[in-house]
C-alpha cells in the first residue's frame, strides 16, 4: 500500500484534476471534503469519457473505423474542463486498514477498480492499495501451502 496519496479538494476543477494525474502519473484521485475525508474519486476513465464522444456508446462496434478524422482532434470544451470535479466524480469504494485481503480484492473485482483507498478508523484517508499490492499479498501466502505428494 502506498502511504503517499495524492488527492484533490472538492472545490477543484476537472482541469486541475487532469493536470495532477498527468504530473504524478496516477490512475485514481480521491476527492476530499473540508474535513479531509474522501467524498468521491476521479479515475482516469472518468476524465477520458470527456475525450470520447458520447455517440460512441450508440455504436455496436467501431472496429471498421481506421481513421477517426476530425474526431481525433476534438477536445473537451473550456466549459467542460472548468466544471468542479464533483460533477464527474464517482462514489468512493474504500476499506478500513484492518480489512482482510480477500474482501479488499473482491471489492476491487466487483467494482472494477485498480486502486482501493484505505481509510483509518476515523475515516481519514491513509493510503491507496493497488490491485497489484493486494494480489501480490494474497499470492505471497501461497508459499506456505505444502507441496502435494507425488
Amino acid at each position: 500500500m502506498k502511504r503517499k496519496v495524492f488527492s484533490i479538494s472538492a472545490s477543484s476543477t476537472i482541469r486541475e484534476a487532469a493536470a495532477l494525474i498527468v504530473e504524478q502519473r496516477i490512475g485514481l484521485l480521491p476527492v476530499l471534503n473540508k474535513q479531509g475525508k474522501p467524498g468521491g474519486v476521479i479515475s482516469l476513465s472518468d476524465l477520458l469519457k470527456l475525450e470520447l464522444p458520447d455517440f460512441f456508446d450508440l455504436l455496436p462496434d467501431l472496429d471498421f473505423v481506421r481513421d477517426f478524422g476530425a474526431v481525433e482532434t476534438t477536445r473537451p470544451t473550456p466549459n467542460q474542463l472548468d466544471r468542479p470535479v464533483t460533477m464527474i466524480m464517482q462514489p468512493i469504494t474504500f476499506v478500513e486498514e484492518n480489512c482482510g485481503l480477500l474482501r479488499a480484492y473482491a471489492l476491487m473485482v466487483k467494482h472494477n477498480l485498480y486502486d482501493l483507498p484505505v481509510v483509518s478508523e476515523e475515516g481519514v484517508l491513509v493510503g491507496l492499495a493497488s490491485r497489484v499490492d493486494i494480489a501480490a499479498a494474497i499470492l505471497a501466502t501461497w508459499k506456505n501451502v505444502e507441496a502435494s505428494r507425488p
Partner: protein, 429 residues
C-alpha cells in the same frame, strides 16, 4: 344509451391517457380494452368472443412477421453497412451524403420498420459526419423526415398503411399504383426543400474526406451470411406480396411464412431474438382493436356515422382533402396509429351507409403518413433522432424541428393535396 355513454367515455379517456402520455400507451390500451369488455359483458352487448372477432389478426400477423425479419437483420450490421457505403460513395460531399443517406433510409423503411431503420442508421450517420468534421443535425432530421415520407409508399412501410390495407381490403400492389406515385413526387420535393433549408450547414467543406474514404463498408457488416439469408427471404416475401391476389394469400400469411422460413434458415438464439420483438406494439394494436369492437357493438359508431350523414352532400374530393389535412394535423402531435384505428371504423360506417369511401382511405394514408413530420413528437423516428442528437454537440431542439420539419410537412401535404385532386379518378378506382 347508458352503454353508449360508458363505452364512449372509456374510449375517450383511454385516448386521452395515450395522447397526453400520462400512462404508457400499451398499458392504457390494455386497461381500456379490459374495461370495454367488462362493461360489454355487464350490459350484454359485447363479450370475449366478440372481442376476439374484433382483433384484426391479418395486421397483427403482418406486423409480427416483419418484426421477426427485422430482428434477424438487426444484429448483422446490414444497416451500418448501408450508412458506411453511403458515406464512402458520397466522397464526403455533404449534399450527396444527404441525398444518399436519405435515399438509403427511405428505401429500407419502405419495406422494414422505420424506427429500427432510424435507430440503426442514425449513430453511423453521426460517426460519418463527426469524422468529416461537419454538423450531423441536417442528416439526422432528413433521415427521419424522409423515412416517414417514404414509408407511406408501401403497404408494409408504416403501421397505419397496414391497418388501412387490412380494413379497406387493399393489396400490396394497390399501394404501388396509388400511393407510390404520389410519394415519389412528394419525396423529391421534400429532399429539395431540406437541401434548401439546410443550405448553410451543407455549404461547410468537410476537413477529413480521406478518413471517410478509409472506411470499408464490408468490414462494418458483422454477419454477412445471416444478412444475405434474411435479405433473400425478404426479397421472396416482397415477390409474394406482388402476387398476393392471384395466389390468394393473405399479407399475414406471407409475412409469417417469410419469418418462419428465415428462422429455419438462420436458426438464431430464439429467446434472444424474441426479446427484440416489440411486443408492446402488438399488444397495443390488439387492445385498440378490442376497444373499437366495443364502440361498434354498442352502437356508438352508428351514432357517429348518422351524425356525419350530411357529409354525403359534400363534394367527395373536398371531403378527402379535409380528411387528409385533419389526419395530418392530428398526426403532427400524436401517434398516427391510434388516429388511424379510431378513424377506420368511421370510414367503414360511412361505407356501409352507401358512401364511396375508396378515395378517403388514401387521403387518410397520406395524412397519417406525412403529418408526423411537422413536430419533434410527430413520429417515433423523429423522437429517436432527437434523442440520438443529444449525444452530439448540436442537439435537435423542438423549435429547430418546427423550423425544418413543419415546412416539409406543409409542402408534402400541399403537394399530396394537389396530386390527390389531379389524380382523383385514380383513387376512386
Amino acid at each position: 344509451m347508458i352503454a353508449q355513454i360508458l363505452v364512449g367515455l372509456i374510449f375517450l379517456i383511454t385516448l386521452w391517457l395515450i395522447f397526453s402520455e400520462k400512462l404508457n400507451r400499451t398499458i392504457a390500451g390494455f386497461g381500456g380494452a379490459t374495461l370495454m369488455v367488462s362493461v360489454g359483458k355487464a350490459l350484454q352487448f359485447y363479450d370475449e368472443s366478440h372481442a376476439m372477432e374484433a382483433v384484426d389478426f391479418n395486421t397483427l400477423g403482418l406486423l409480427l412477421g416483419m418484426m421477426i425479419l427485422v430482428a434477424l437483420l438487426e444484429p448483422t450490421g446490414f444497416f451500418q453497412f448501408l450508412a458506411v457505403w453511403a458515406g464512402r460513395f458520397s466522397r464526403g460531399r455533404p449534399v450527396v451524403l444527404l441525398a444518399l443517406l436519405g435515399t438509403v433510409t427511405t428505401l429500407v423503411s419502405m419495406f422494414l420498420d422505420n424506427v429500427t431503420t432510424v435507430v440503426l442508421i442514425a449513430p453511423v450517420t453521426i460517426l460519418i459526419c463527426e469524422i468529416l468534421g461537419i454538423n450531423p443535425l441536417p442528416f439526422l432530421i432528413t433521415e427521419a423526415l424522409l423515412s416517414n415520407t417514404g414509408g407511406t409508399a408501401t403497404l408494409v412501410g408504416d403501421p397505419p398503411n397496414m391497418l388501412i390495407a387490412s380494413a379497406a381490403g387493399f393489396a400490396f400492389n394497390d399501394f404501388l399504383t396509388h400511393a407510390l406515385p404520389v410519394v415519389l413526387v412528394v419525396w423529391f420535393a421534400a429532399l429539395w426543400l431540406l437541401r434548401h433549408l439546410f443550405r448553410h450547414e451543407l455549404a461547410v467543406q468537410p476537413t477529413n474526406v480521406a478518413a471517410v474514404m478509409k472506411l470499408k463498408p464490408h468490414e462494418s457488416l458483422d454477419d454477412p451470411k445471416t444478412a444475405w439469408r434474411v435479405l433473400v427471404v425478404l426479397g421472396a416475401a416482397i415477390i409474394l406480396f406482388f402476387l398476393e391476389e392471384p395466389l390468394g394469400l393473405s399479407q399475414a400469411f406471407i409475412a409469417m411464412g417469410a419469418a418462419s422460413a428465415a428462422l429455419v434458415w438462420v436458426r438464431p438464439d430464439i429467446n434472444e431474438l424474441l426479446r427484440r420483438i416489440e411486443w408492446g406494439v402488438l399488444v397495443f394494436f390488439a387492445a385498440l382493436f378490442v376497444m373499437v369492437g366495443g364502440l361498434e357493438a354498442s352502437g356508438v359508431l352508428n351514432k357517429l356515422v348518422t351524425l356525419l350523414e350530411h357529409l354525403h352532400a359534400a363534394p367527395p374530393a373536398l371531403l378527402g382533402l379535409a380528411l387528409l389535412w385533419f389526419s395530418a394535423g392530428l398526426s403532427a402531435f400524436v401517434d398516427n396509429v391510434p388516429i388511424t384505428i379510431a378513424l377506420i371504423p368511421v370510414l367503414q360506417g360511412l361505407s356501409a351507409d352507401g358512401m364511396d369511401v375508396g378515395p378517403l382511405w388514401w387521403a387518410l394514408a397520406f395524412g397519417a403518413g406525412f403529418g408526423g413530420n411537422a413536430t419533434i413528437i410527430g413520429s417515433t423516428a423523429n423522437i429517436i433522432v432527437a434523442n440520438v442528437s443529444e449525444r452530439t454537440r448540436t442537439p435537435i431542439t423542438s423549435d429547430l424541428w418546427n423550423r425544418r420539419g413543419l415546412p416539409v410537412m406543409l409542402l408534402t401535404c400541399a403537394l399530396a393535396s394537389v396530386l390527390y385532386l389531379l389524380l382523383y379518378t385514380l383513387f376512386t378506382a
